[in-house]
């Protein structure tokens, strides 16, 4: 019971790191980036190549995965994404689906379609017993890393100058521009960091979520659920939504496997109908 809760929390934390970039892009630029999972996949594959083929230590590969995905995100944001911000949601969706399809086929071409595994160090494998709760070492690591990241993100958003600029831009981009905030630059940085976090999440999650070329399509809906349920106006909303989704999904698969993913899709639809702004969103005046 508690083991399931523990696994669910690890899963939820992972989802949060994967999806928080999407929440910010959606909230800041009102941009639907269905290709967010592609950046996560990029991070995962970078880690696989570094650790398995080049023998880079696992902990050194994680920051590299972050940097690689962030650079990729920055590059794409500056070259192609900028042309699409002003378009309607339908076009944004078509565009990002196109990117996902290209990423899926390209990874398939380069790496093959089989599932990839990261060779995690042996001291991270297995479980230990903690007052009768089976605690997976790797999952504990995920919780620690993701927890630290969450605290760091929350601190950046709440306490730094960049964070206050970002929040101002999310609340009302026009007024923020009027106050002299370079919203485009803020957005480019945020996009890069969000992609980098997704990449880091992909690297960490390769072991738990499974990594193959269809990763962005498989988890697209999970990211969307986190964002729609959590709302895009804060970082605590997506965080709580991720935890709920993670625990719910793990528990659902354990207790009622015949329902599969059915329950969480239904929850998403119900939440969307009930509160289109997200479950934890504060009411905005707009």
């Amino acid at each position: 019971m508690l083991t399931i809760l523990f696994d669910g929390i690890a899963y939820g934390m992972l989802l949060f790191v994967l999806a928080c970039g999407l929440a910010v892009t959606l909230g800041l630029m009102n941009f639907v980036n269905l290709a967010h999972g592609a950046f996560a996949m990029a991070g995962g594959y970078v880690t696989v190549v570094l650790v398995n083929r080049l023998g880079v230590p696992f902990f050194a590969a994680l920051p590299l995965a972050f940097v690689a995905s962030a650079l990729l995100g920055l590059l794409l944001e500056r070259t192609v994404y900028v042309h699409v911000y002003a378009r309607g949601h339908l076009e944004q969706v078509l565009f990002t689906i196109g990117l996902v399809f290209m990423a899926v086929a390209a990874v398939d071409y380069v790496m093959g379609s089989q599932q990839q595994f990261v060779a995690i160090p042996s001291y991270l494998q297995g479980q230990f017993n903690f007052f009768g709760i089976g605690v997976g070492r790797y999952r504990l690591l995920i919780i620690v890393i993701c927890g630290l990241l969450t605290v760091a993100l929350q601190f950046t958003l709440a306490r730094t100058r960049f964070g206050s600029r970002l929040r101002a831009a999310v609340d009302d981009a026009r007024v923020a521009r009027g106050l002299g905030i370079n919203v485009n630059a803020v957005f480019a940085v945020t996009f890069a960091v969000g992609s980098g976090l997704a990449g880091l999440g992909g690297a960490l999650g390769a072991e738990i979520l499974g990594l193959d070329p269809n990763f962005p399509l498989k988890f697209m809906i999970y990211f969307l659920i986190v964002v729609t349920v959590g709302g895009t106006s804060s970082i605590t909303g997506p965080f709580l939504a991720s935890l709920l989704l993670g625990i719910g999904d793990v528990a659902g698969k354990y207790y009622v496997p015949q329902f599969g993913a059915f329950a969480i899709y239904t929850i998403m639809i119900v939440v969307l109908i009930w509160r289109p702004q997200g479950l934890f969103a504060r009411a905005t005046a707009r």
Partner: protein, 348 residues
């Protein structure tokens, strides 16, 4: 778009003018008919094109006329496909045409129920809700024992059409059948969009608030067209099951919803032929590219999607309109008849 206080007879005259058959349209359907006699070895692929065209037509009714965006239109296609497969497999309805009607009605029921979900919210919510509905249906088909799960629905035998024309392996019957269904449903769609009902849909697409202000019951219209679109998609799915005698989870895939959007966008939404032309182009492209790199076909779809958005959707659908206009102009010179210059425009 149409001035609200225009006299009724003027509006009626406009609708009649819009509904007039143009030389381009007659040529299109004559070409489709001729393809049966001229390209007998292509009938299997042509049947697929006709089914894809019908599917894209169903999306055109929603997107091109009512402006309803959908990321999960495969839900109804797949539902129709599975219904057709199940009723044939268990011998509930063995006659294909009747089974087609049943499947269409079944998909319409699902469309009617889910349309109330789609009414809520703006584009973004709609995209996600439609996506969610399709995913839920796919998950149900995946889990139920009766649908065969990931193995697909096997062991379907389709009886002869009207008890007289059995399906053959070369797809001759399948093509005539699909083309006939497509043509009949196209006529119906043409009638729908050129009616006052269709005009009210266009006004909703233009501006829902103003449409409501001039007395268009926006929600009821949207529910109606969503149900009709779902029925069309269901018939298309049922056609696929009947002509291939197989239904698998791929009919509910997200890729299928994305493909049909692409098809419609290639051909251009909002003038009914977009889906059909798009289906022809899509199949040609697929055939050509899949021969080059069969495994990585998805890459090229993605590239086309990205290019369409970056280059601009208007320009792409503009090409097909230019083409249609050129054909019309040519026909006008040849026949010397007066055709109306009310070119269908991609209003957004």
């Amino acid at each position: 778009m149409l001035v609200a206080h225009a006299p009724v007879h003027e509006a009626a005259a406009r609708l009649r003018a819009r509904a007039r058959w143009r030389p381009f349209e007659i040529a299109f359907w004559l070409a489709a008919l001729a393809s049966y006699f001229l390209m007998p070895s292509w009938h299997l692929i042509l049947a697929e094109v006709a089914i894809l065209g019908l599917f894209a037509l169903s999306l055109d009714l929603l997107l091109g006329y009512a402006g309803v965006v959908s990321l999960g239109h495969a839900a109804f296609f797949g539902f129709g496909a599975y219904v057709a497969g199940l009723i044939a497999k268990y011998g509930i309805v063995t006659e294909p045409v009747l089974a087609l009607v049943v499947s269409g009605i079944a998909a319409a029921v699902v469309g009617f129920i889910t349309s109330f979900l789609v009414l809520r919210g703006a584009d973004l919510t709609r995209l996600m809700v439609t996506l969610g509905v399709a995913l839920v249906l796919r998950e149900i088909a995946n889990r139920l024992a009766i649908t065969g799960g990931a193995d697909g629905l096997q062991g379907i035998t389709i009886g002869p059409i009207f008890g007289m024309f059995p399906f053959d392996i070369a797809g001759h019957t399948a093509y005539v059948y699909s083309l006939a269904v497509l043509f009949l449903l196209f006529l119906l769609a043409r009638r729908i969009v050129n009616s006052p009902f269709g005009l009210s849909l266009r006004s909703i697409k233009g501006n829902p608030l103003r449409a409501a202000a001039i007395g268009v019951p926006v929600n009821r219209r949207l529910v109606a067209i969503y149900t009709i679109g779902a029925a069309y998609a269901g018939v298309a799915g049922a056609l696929l099951t009947q002509t291939t005698q197989f239904a698998s989870l791929s009919v509910l895939d997200f890729e299928r919803s994305a493909d049909v959007l692409l098809i419609l966008i290639i051909g251009g939404p909002g003038y009914l032929y977009g889906g059909l032309i798009g289906a022809i182009l899509f199949k040609l492209m697929q055939d050509w590219l899949a021969n080059l790199t069969p495994q990585y076909w998805m890459f090229w779809i993605g590239l086309v999607l990205v290019l369409i958005v970056v280059v601009g959707r208007e320009r792409v659908s503009g090409w097909s309109l230019d083409f249609a206009a050129a054909v019309r102009g040519l026909a006008r010179r040849l026949v010397g008849s007066r055709t109306l210059a009310s070119s269908p425009q991609d209003r957004r």
